[in-house]
Symmetry: none
Subunit: 199 residues, 4 copies
C-alpha cells in the first residue's frame, strides 16, 4: 500500500513537473491541458484523476515548488544569524534557484506568484516578503538597521530587487551565469548593508 501510494505520488509528480516545464516554455495562459499531458507522456484524461481541474494543477505546481523555498527561508529565519546574514541567505536561496531550477523560477517566481488570480486564491502562500519584513524588524530591534527604516517597504524593495534580477535573466537581458548570480548577490548586499544600516 505504501508502494502504491508512492507510485501514485510519483505519477502525480511526473505530471506536475511536466506542467512546470510547459508553463515555463509557453506561459501560463497559453499552456493547454493537452500540452501538459503530452509533456508528461500520459493521456490528458488522466490529469483529472490526480487533479480536479487545470487550475488545480497550476496551484499545485506552484504550491509544491514554492513551499520548498519557503521552508528554506524559514530555516534562515530560525538560524540566529545577524539580520544582514539572514538577508544574504534569503537572496542566495532565491537567486541560486535560477541555477538549479530555471524553469521553476520562470514559472513559479515570475508568473504564478504574480498572477492576480492565483495570488488571490492561494492566500496562505504569501511571498517571502513577509519573512524578509520580519528579518528587517529584528534587525531594527537589535540596532543593526536604522530605527526609521520602514520594514514593510524595505522588505518590498529588497524582494523587488531580487525579483527584477531574476526577470532580467528570465527575459535573457542578462546571462544569468553562476558568476552573474554571485555578482548579483554581492551587489544587492552591498547596497542594503549600508542602505538599511543607514551609514
Amino acid at each position: 500500500m505504501g508502494e502504491r501510494a508512492t507510485a501514485t505520488e510519483e505519477k502525480r509528480r511526473l505530471i506536475l513537473d511536466a506542467a512546470v516545464r510547459v508553463f515555463a516554455r509557453k506561459g501560463y495562459h497559453a499552456s493547454r491541458v493537452g500540452d501538459i499531458a503530452e509533456e508528461a507522456g500520459v493521456a490528458h484524461g488522466l490529469l483529472y484523476h490526480y487533479f480536479d481541474s487545470k487550475d488545480e494543477v497550476l496551484e499545485a505546481a506552484f504550491r509544491e515548488n514554492w513551499s520548498v523555498l519557503l521552508e528554506r527561508i524559514q530555516a534562515v529565519e530560525e538560524s540566529g544569524e545577524s539580520a544582514r546574514e539572514q538577508l544574504r541567505h534569503v537572496a542566495a536561496i532565491l537567486l541560486r534557484t535560477w541555477l538549479h531550477q530555471p524553469d521553476v523560477v520562470r514559472v513559479v517566481v515570475r508568473e504564478i506568484a504574480r498572477s492576480p488570480e492565483v495570488q488571490q486564491r492561494i492566500g496562505e502562500l504569501v511571498k517571502p516578503i513577509e519573512a524578509i519584513r520580519r528579518i528587517v524588524e529584528r534587525g531594527r530591534a537589535t540596532g543593526e538597521f536604522r530605527a526609521d527604516l520602514d520594514p514593510a517597504l524595505a522588505a518590498t524593495i529588497f524582494y523587488g530587487g531580487i525579483d527584477e534580477i531574476l526577470t532580467s535573466w528570465v527575459l535573457g537581458q542578462a546571462a544569468g551565469t553562476p558568476d552573474d548570480v554571485a555578482a548579483a548577490e554581492r551587489t544587492l548586499m552591498d547596497v542594503v548593508s549600508v542602505g538599511f544600516a543607514g551609514r
Copy 2:
C-alpha cells in the same frame, strides 16, 4: 479635416481608455472584446476600425501611456541635477503615477510586466531601467556613487524596488495612499542614497 482627425483620435482614445479600465478591473484574459466596447459605449465591431486585434489594444494602451512616462524620465536625465536627485525624480514619476492613473499602473504592472510574451514584443518596458543605469553610470563618474557599483545591477535593483512597491498597491497588500507614496519615495531614496554611495 483637422477636426475630423481630432474626432477620430478622440474616439480612438475613448476606446483605449475604456480598455485600460476594463483590463484593470478584470485582467486582460478575462476581458472580452465586448466588455471594452460596452465600457466605451460603442459597438464591438468599431474596435476593429481602430485596432487590428484585442492584443493590439493592449499594446497600444501600454505604449501610449508608457511613452508619456518615458518622456518625463528622459527630461529628468537631461536636467543636469545630481544623480541622486535624478533617481529621486524617476522614482517619483513612476510611483506617483499610481495616484493619478492607478488603472494604467494596474495594467502595466499586472498584464504587461508579468507577461513574458508581451514583454518580449514590447522592448520599451526596459527603457526606464536603461535610463536609471545611465544615471548610475554618471553618478559613478562624478564620484557621487562608489566606483565598484555595477550600474546595470544597481538599476535593476532600484527599478525592481519601485515595481514591487507598485505591485503591493495593485494587489492591495498596501493601501497606496498619497502618504504611502511619499513614504515609499523616502524609504527608497534613503536606502539607495547611502547604499549606492557606499558610505
Copy 3:
C-alpha cells in the same frame, strides 16, 4: 442632363470593371465590397449609390459582360451560315474572349455562370447552350447533322468542351496563347464536324 447621366454611367462602369478584376483575382466569395471599392478608387459606401447590394454588383457584372457575348452569339444565329460555320463562330466568340478579356472569362464564364446561387437568380441569363442547341437543331433539319443526334446533349457537349478548354487556360494548365486558341478552335471543330455529321 445627358452628360450627368453619362458621368453617372461611367462611374457605374468603373465600379463594375473593378469588380470583374477583383473577382478574377480573388474569386467570387473571397472578394469583399471594400476590395472592389478600393480597386475602383472610391469609398465603399459609394457602391450602395449605384447598386443595392454586393450581390447586385455581382449580378450586374455578370449580366453586362455576358450580354455582349449573347448578342454576338445571337448575331451568329441570324447569319444564315451553315450550322457548322455557326458553331465555329460561337466557339470563336467564346474562346477568343480569353485573348481580349481574360478577366471576364475567369469570372463570368467560369465562376458566376456556374454558381448555383447566381444561376438560379438570373433565369433569363441562360447559357449559350440553348443557342447552340438551336443551331444543332437547324443543322439536323437541313441534313447537315445526322438525324439521331440529340440536340440538347450535343449542345451540352460542345459547350462543355469550350468551357473546359477555357478552364485549362484559367488554371494555367495550358498557356492560352493566340496559337493555343487557334488550335483549340480547329480541334474542336474537327471533332464535331464529323462527330455531329456522323460520317
Copy 4:
C-alpha cells in the same frame, strides 16, 4: 484495437457522408459547421477531432470519393481494350456516378470543380483528363484515332462534355434519369467515335 480503429474510421466516415449531403443541399459556403454536425448527429466540436477545419472536410470528402473513381479509371486504362472502349468506360464511370451518388457529383461538380482556389490545391481533379489524354495517345498510336488529333485538347473536350452533362443534371436543367444517363453515354460516344477517328 482493430475494432477501435474501425469504430473511429466509421465515425469519421459518418461525418464525411453527412458533410457531402449538407454541401450538396446548401453549397459549401452556406453550410455551417453546425449543420454538418447536426446532420451527422454529433456535437460540432467533434468535427475538429477528425478534421482540422471546415475546408479540410471538403477536401477529404472530395479526395476520398474521388479516389474511388480514379482507381476505376486506372483499371480501365490497364484493361487492354481498344481506345474507344476505354473512353466509353471512362464516360460510363463518371456519368453513372450520378445515379449512385448524386450528392457526391453535386459537390464535386459545383463546389470543387467550380472553385479555382480549391482546384489549385487539389491537383487530383485533372487526373481523369490526363488518363483520357493517355488513352487518346494510345488510340492515335494504334491508328484508331487520326494522327493529327491533339491528345490534350481532345481529352479536355471529352472531359468537358462529361462535366457539362453532369452539370446540367446537377442544376436540374435535365432530369438525369437512368435513361438520360444511357442517352448521354451514347451521344457522347457517337460524337467522339467518328470525331476522334476523323472519318
